[in-house]
């Protein structure tokens, strides 16, 4: 398995060279590899079918729980076969389809890169490994959808697809991690259980179960385009047709379905009312109906198919949720055949007749008979026409039977299935029949002709396989579907699966309902003008509040928010930044107080405050107010100096003469420096209006008030002895243990004894500063007569001085 991944990865890197040297044979050469790998997988059907499957594992980062562990069981096998075999057909097809494109090498690089990721995804047993491949499919699909990136709609579609699936993917990563830890809890494994095959029983009883389900499903439902996240899939149709056929019908969009199926045995509760099942049935049934309905209003070939794919994905999710793994597996296989075929046909019609709109074209049968044959077969299969021995019929019968067996939901689900079935019949006629046999409203844009054989091979084979599926199921359908179904169920089926069409040839309610759906579908086809008119009010509604519109609104909101934030918060003004910071800090304090009720008690003990203190307090306050009102910088500096001196006096009053001395010196120095600098500055100018100033005053007062309260609160409690006691004791020569400093002047002792290394450091700093000053003075002398290159010289000097 790892070898197959390695081969494909290498092929992806080598694809540009293959394209350059193999010329027209590139499709054949490239397709040979996945075909061979597919054949290998096909040979492993019996081995994979027995419960354990084939396991390969290499330790990678065991500490992180990551192992390169792969497991091939029935479910993986079903998907691996689709990835490789349909992939081979698509490569062959694309070799001709992309002929002459100037970036064809890059295209194949991305396409095979996607194939590798998708194959890795379905084979991975490790949750992290699965996520890695999951994201790689997203990114390669992004590159492929946006391949014609000179077109705006391609770019938009690619980004939309990536945003929706990427968002879901990250939620899923969170879900997978929660899942791994929860499993670790249950299994008693520290660090979590990271291999899906080792997940323990009973996850649905874990406290985090709702999180797991919600987050994992967020990833799966977005990836598999479930309503209301379906809108990215039609937009992704901007991709070249081989990409749409491969990624957006057969493989990538089914990744979500795959993971749902994979985790179903572990996350299912076993009852239809369970969270997991309920969500799956709800999302699946809605998607099935809405997707099919939306498709009926389309006329572009690929968009029709895209919406019908959305509907089909809904069917798969719903069937898994309803507990019919056999029906789900049968449907997945059948869908891959008929939908893949129709997408490729759409590409042929676009490529060879230049037409994209099925409402306009018709009568292409004569020009392209083989294509028409494949399309008709696939169309009948998709419609599930009663008694037609094709894969689609079998799958549809199983689906309707499942609907009729849904307990309390029977009526609702059956009605939805029949409604969606009718729409699907209509879509099948529009895509499989109308372009070839219907009425054409005008001549095709290009002279229509049959496609070359590499483009015909895949659709014809897929169409024919649809017959083989239903007529000789034992050949491949029964073993593959049985193995996959049992893997989804998590145990063997009681009875053997019947996939032969004739088994369903009996008069029954299911067959009758199927017939009814077909008739309604044909009816809609003939009355399609009326139908479009009747449903247009809903379409208008969808255009206003539909999910796609919601996505647009969200994107617009983000951009608008970004714009507004830039204008308001990031306008480049330092004042605004500081104000915002202060507001935010106050806000956070308020938030913390509101959320936790924590509030320091503020002491108001002014008993010890004497006259001198009051004088100081008042002079500080007055100075502060005056400083804000003065028009001259020099005067402001002087007033600020008053505050500094007053603080120094406070130090002196409360037994800190050394601190007071320092404060005096520093304050003087600062005032002097200020004066020197301020001398060069212009006078104050008033830029702000009264309102702004009042707001500023309020903000300053509030912030100052909060800070002052904190100081009061801190001052009002005495938690511990003042440190002076310690120094007094340690300095005394009388202390018995002889560890004392033998001195009486505390300041001296601190300087030369307790903190002697600091003093040494300060001396060194002073020395270095002195050397620096001397150097600068010497340089000034030398500088005479040197050409002055730049004016910056003086500024450098002042920086040096500050440092």
């Amino acid at each position: 398995m790892m070898l197959s991944l390695a081969i494909l990865a290498l092929l992806s890197v080598a694809a540009p060279w293959v394209c350059r040297y193999a010329g027209p044979a590139r499709g054949v050469v490239l397709a040979a590899f996945p075909l061979g790998i597919g054949a290998w997988f096909a040979s492993k059907i019996p081995a994979a079918a027995d419960g354990e499957g084939i396991v390969e594992s290499v330790a990678w980062l065991p500490e992180l729980g990551l192992e390169l562990s792969f497991r091939l069981d029935g479910l993986s096998l079903l998907f691996a076969l689709m990835v490789t075999l349909i992939g081979a057909g698509v490569l062959l097809y694309a070799g001709a389809y992309m002929k002459g494109h100037h970036q064809i090498g890059r295209f194949f690089c991305y396409l095979i890169g996607f194939m590798t990721s998708m194959l890795g995804l379905v084979l991975a047993d490790n949750l992290i490994l699965l996520f890695i491949f999951w994201e790689l499919t997203s990114i390669t699909s992004y590159l492929l959808i946006g391949f014609n990136h000179d077109k705006k709609e391609s770019r938009a579609g690619a980004l939309q697809a990536l945003m929706v699936t990427g968002l879901g993917g990250l939620a899923m990563l969170a879900g997978l991690v929660v899942l791994a830890f929860a499993a670790g809890d249950l299994a008693g494994v520290a660090g979590g259980v990271w291999n899906m095959s080792e997940l323990p029983e009973g996850l649905s009883g874990h406290a985090h179960y709702p999180w797991i389900v919600a987050l994992v499903l967020a990833g799966c439902l977005t990836k598999s385009a479930q309503f209301p996240f379906h809108f990215w899939l039609p937009s992704a149709m901007a991709a070249p047709s081989p990409v749409s056929a491969y990624l957006h019908s057969s493989t990538m969009v089914k990744a979500g379905v795959y993971l749902i199926a994979r985790l179903h045995p572990n996350l299912a509760t076993g009852t239809a009312e369970g969270l997991w099942e309920g969500l799956l049935i709800g999302f699946g049934a809605t998607t099935m109906f809405v997707g099919a309905y939306l498709a009926t209003r389309q006329t572009l070939y690929k968009r029709l198919l895209a919406y019908s794919t959305v509907s089909s994905l809904g069917v798969m999710v719903m069937l898994i949720g309803m507990g019919h793994p056999d029906a789900a597996a049968a449907y997945i296989l059948a869908h891959a055949m008929f939908k893949g075929c129709l997408f490729l046909v759409a590409g042929i019609v676009d490529h060879e007749a230049g037409e994209k709109d099925v409402a306009e074209i018709g009568r292409l049968f004569r020009a392209m008979p083989a294509t028409a044959l494949a399309a008709v077969l696939a169309g009948i299969s998709m419609a599930g026409v009663p008694l037609a021995p094709l894969a689609g019929f079998v799958a549809k019968e199983k689906m309707i039977k499942a609907g009729l067996d849904a307990g309390p939901l029977t009526a609702l689900l059956t009605a939805l299935i029949i409604a969606a079935g009718s729409f699907t019949v209509f879509i099948a006629i529009m895509t499989g029949f109308k372009p070839f046999f219907g009425k054409a409203s005008r001549e095709p844009k290009k002279h229509a002709h049959e496609a070359p054989w590499p483009m015909l091979a895949a659709p014809v084979i897929l169409a024919v396989l649809g017959i083989v599926y239903a007529l000789v199921p034992a050949l491949f359908a029964t073993p593959v579907v049985t193995a996959a179904g049992e893997a989804i169920k998590g145990g063997p089926f009681e009875a053997a699966l019947r996939l032969d069409a004739f088994y369903y040839y009996e008069i029954s309610l299911a067959l009758g309902l199927s017939l009814l759906a077909t008739l309604i579908g044909v009816g809609i086809y003939f009355g399609r003008g009326l139908w479009v008119k009747a449903t247009s009010p809903f379409a208008k509604l969808d255009g206003v509040v539909g999910p796609a519109k919601m996505y647009d609104y969200a994107m617009l909101g983000l951009t608008k928010g970004s714009w507004a934030q830039t204008r308001v918060l990031q306008n480049g003004s330092l004042q605004v930044y500081i104000k915002m910071t202060l507001v935010a800090i106050l806000g956070m304090f308020a938030w913390a107080i509101w959320r936790t009720g924590f509030l320091p008690s503020v002491g108001t003990n002014f008993e010890r405050t004497g006259l001198l203190e009051w004088v100081l307090i008042i002079s500080i306050a007055v100075s502060a107010i005056v400083a804000t009102r003065l028009g001259s910088r020099l005067a402001t500096v002087a007033v600020l100096g008053v505050i500094g001196y007053a603080v120094a006096v406070v130090f002196a009053l409360y037994g800190g003469p050394d601190a007071a001395m320092t404060q005096f010196a520093v304050e003087t120095l600062i005032v002097v420096i200020f004066v020197l600098v301020v001398y060069h500055l212009p006078r104050f100018a008033v830029y702000s209006g009264l309102a702004v100033r009042v707001m500023d005053l309020l903000l300053a007062a509030t912030f100052g008030g909060v800070m002052a309260c904190l100081v009061l609160a801190a001052g009002s409690q005495e938690l511990f002895a003042p440190i002076s006691a310690y120094f007094n004791e340690a300095a005394m020569p009388e202390t018995p243990d002889g560890q004392s400093a033998y001195g009486r002047n505390l300041v001296n002792i601190i300087l030369v004894d307790f903190r002697s290394v600091d003093t040494l450091g300060e001396l060194v700093v002073l020395g270095i500063a002195a050397i620096g000053v001397y150097t600068l003075m010497k340089l000034r002398d030398d500088q005479e007569g040197t050409p002055v290159a730049e004016r910056e010289g003086d500024e450098d000097q002042s920086e040096e001085g500050d440092a």
Partner: protein, 547 residues
């Protein structure tokens, strides 16, 4: 004393290197002057080697952090030195070389520039060594003060000076706030020693709740330090400063102060501990809890706001440097989630549960990846009318870069994808560890918000990917700067980002660095200290509270 010298050996080496660089950078001979950068690199290399072999410091609140943090500083510092080559004095030195000007030390900044750079890194290393609030404050300021000057002198444009002024003023505001917080913390606990604070707080919590003054101090400290890590509410400077400074300096600003801030926050939070009962400020009975409630809500609010604000602001940017600046804010928010989660206290927790280790690893990954993106900007320039080449900063300049300048183009693509966290690049593992550690601490809601934000981030990171990779070049290809070492720095970063296959060693180192941080209460301290001396750390089960 001597043991302290051993612990501080890398800092001492860096300081000596700084002195040598200062002298060498002013030398009259050009050949000698050009040695300033290699000498700085050599000093970092030696400091890094010394750092790896530094023993654990039992007196530190984060006993095992020193080797990892300092080696990371030296390693990323080496990349930065390569990137910083030629940032200042380029036209002046060229003129001297052509013989148009006589060399005059007064007109050159090279010595100061590299010296300031090394000073800042020394400060960062000192942050990791800090055992005391005063030490921590001085170290944090040693980190930032040189960067103010570096941002200002990094180009001769007016915008650099504007950036420098804004950076300085807001930095001073931040410093004032966290210094105030430190003072209150001292007021509430009676000590500036971080281990002393831890014991005092644990004692208060055990006897009826933490002192509100101490709590207010911690909250103010965290808000003030949010300037260093560029978090809301002190993030405003980021875009203006990163855009104004030369790209190599911006790359440095995105790593050095951020790392210092996170290490400081870790130290302070480790002093508080992660074992408080949910909904209160008292210790949890089983020893497995969260941060105290008021710190938790503050940090959670900061984390959510930070990542959202950063990502939303980045959406519309046309300037690469502004975009990277806002994304730097967002990454801070991501890391805060793991910081909230903290080191797992459960005895048998695996390394995927250690939030502090996740932050330390993320810092390294972010630093390296970010250097790659800034290196591309630093390598591109276009001649201006005034004769001086100006670096390119518009997203449009990246158009078709993979075609015109393949090396730079691919460096940008790889590093942008790395920042996006695309698996299996290095950035993914970093983000993965954030996810696992936060989830194992039960912070699922925060992780979901983190995931949403990462998806928004894809919106703008993809511009950095698609423009060089998919678009066709338009007009003239941008010129490149003549500094091979810058390209080399970029290529090296991209190589490291790609080298995600074997991050185990580094992850282990990060986890070990965060081992046992903030998980200890007084009753167990003696036992722990004994076990440290016995060097049987890893075999000992992590102690939990046994009250």
């Amino acid at each position: 004393m001597s043991s302290l010298l051993v612990l501080l050996a890398p800092e001492i080496v860096l300081f000596i290197t700084t002195c040598i660089v200062m002298i060498v950078g002013l030398w009259p001979k050009l050949e000698v002057r050009s040695l300033a950068m290699p000498i700085a690199g050599m000093g970092l290399l030696i400091a890094g080697v010394l750092a790896i072999n530094t023993p654990a410091n039992p007196e530190s609140i984060l006993p095992n952090i020193i080797p990892y943090a300092k080696a990371m500083t030296a390693g990323v510092g080496l990349l930065l030195v390569l990137l910083l080559a030629g940032t200042v004095d380029r036209s002046y030195e060229a003129a001297v070389e052509r013989g148009e000007l006589r060399f005059n030390p007064i007109h050159t900044n090279r010595a100061e520039f590299f010296a300031f750079f090394l000073f800042s890194l020394t400060g960062l290393m000192l942050c990791a060594s800090a055992t005391d609030l005063i030490w921590l404050f001085l170290a944090l300021e040693l980190v930032s003060l040189p960067t103010y000057v570096m941002a200002t002198i990094s180009t001769r444009k007016l915008r650099s000076q504007e950036a420098g002024v804004k950076y300085f003023f807001l930095g001073a505001l931040g410093a004032a706030i966290f210094l105030y917080g430190f003072a209150l913390l001292y007021g509430g606990t009676g000590t500036t020693n971080l281990i002393g604070i831890r014991d005092a707080l644990a004692e208060q919590a055990a006897s009826g709740g933490i002192n509100p003054i101490a709590m207010a101090g911690i909250i103010l400290s965290l808000i003030g330090i949010s300037f260093k890590i560029a978090a809301v509410p002190m993030h405003f400077y980021t875009a203006d400063v990163y855009q104004g400074a030369a790209a190599p300096v911006s790359a440095m600003l995105a790593f050095v102060p951020k790392t210092a801030g996170f290490i400081a926050m870790m130290g302070i939070l480790a002093a508080v501990g992660w074992q408080y009962a949910p909904g209160g400020e008292t210790l949890a009975a089983d020893g497995v809890g969260t941060l105290p409630r008021s710190i938790y809500v503050t940090l959670a609010a900061i984390a959510v706001l930070t990542m959202t604000v950063g990502n939303v602001l980045a959406l519309l940017q046309r300037s690469i440097k502004r975009l990277l600046a806002y994304s730097s804010i967002a990454h801070t928010g991501y890391m805060l989630v793991a910081l909230i989660a903290g080191p797992s206290i459960a005895a048998e927790a695996g390394i995927t549960s250690n939030g502090l280790g996740a932050v330390l690893f993320y810092l390294l990954v972010y630093g390296v990846t970010n250097i790659g993106t800034f290196a591309v900007v630093a390598c591109l320039e276009r001649p201006q009318p005034d004769g001086e080449a100006d670096e390119l900063d518009d997203l449009e300049d990246l158009r078709g870069l993979c075609r015109t300048r393949p090396v730079l183009g691919w460096v940008m693509v790889i590093c942008a994808l790395g920042l996006l966290g695309l698996p299996p690049l290095l950035g993914f593992w970093a983000k993965f560890l954030l996810f696992t550690s936060a989830i194992s601490a039960g912070e699922i809601a925060l992780v979901v918000i983190l995931g949403l934000n990462s998806a928004i981030a894809a919106f703008y990171y993809l511009k950095l990917v698609t423009l060089p990779l998919l678009e066709e070049p338009e007009g003239d290809a941008p010129a490149t700067t003549p500094f091979a070492s810058r390209t080399f720095a970029g290529v090296l970063s991209a190589a490291l980002v790609l080298l995600a296959i074997i991050p185990t060693g580094i992850v282990d180192a990060a986890m070990e660095a965060a081992d046992r941080a903030g998980t200890i209460v007084p009753a167990n301290i003696e036992a722990i200290e004994r076990s440290i001396t016995a060097e049987a750390l890893r075999d000992e089960p992590t102690p939990i509270i046994d009250r």
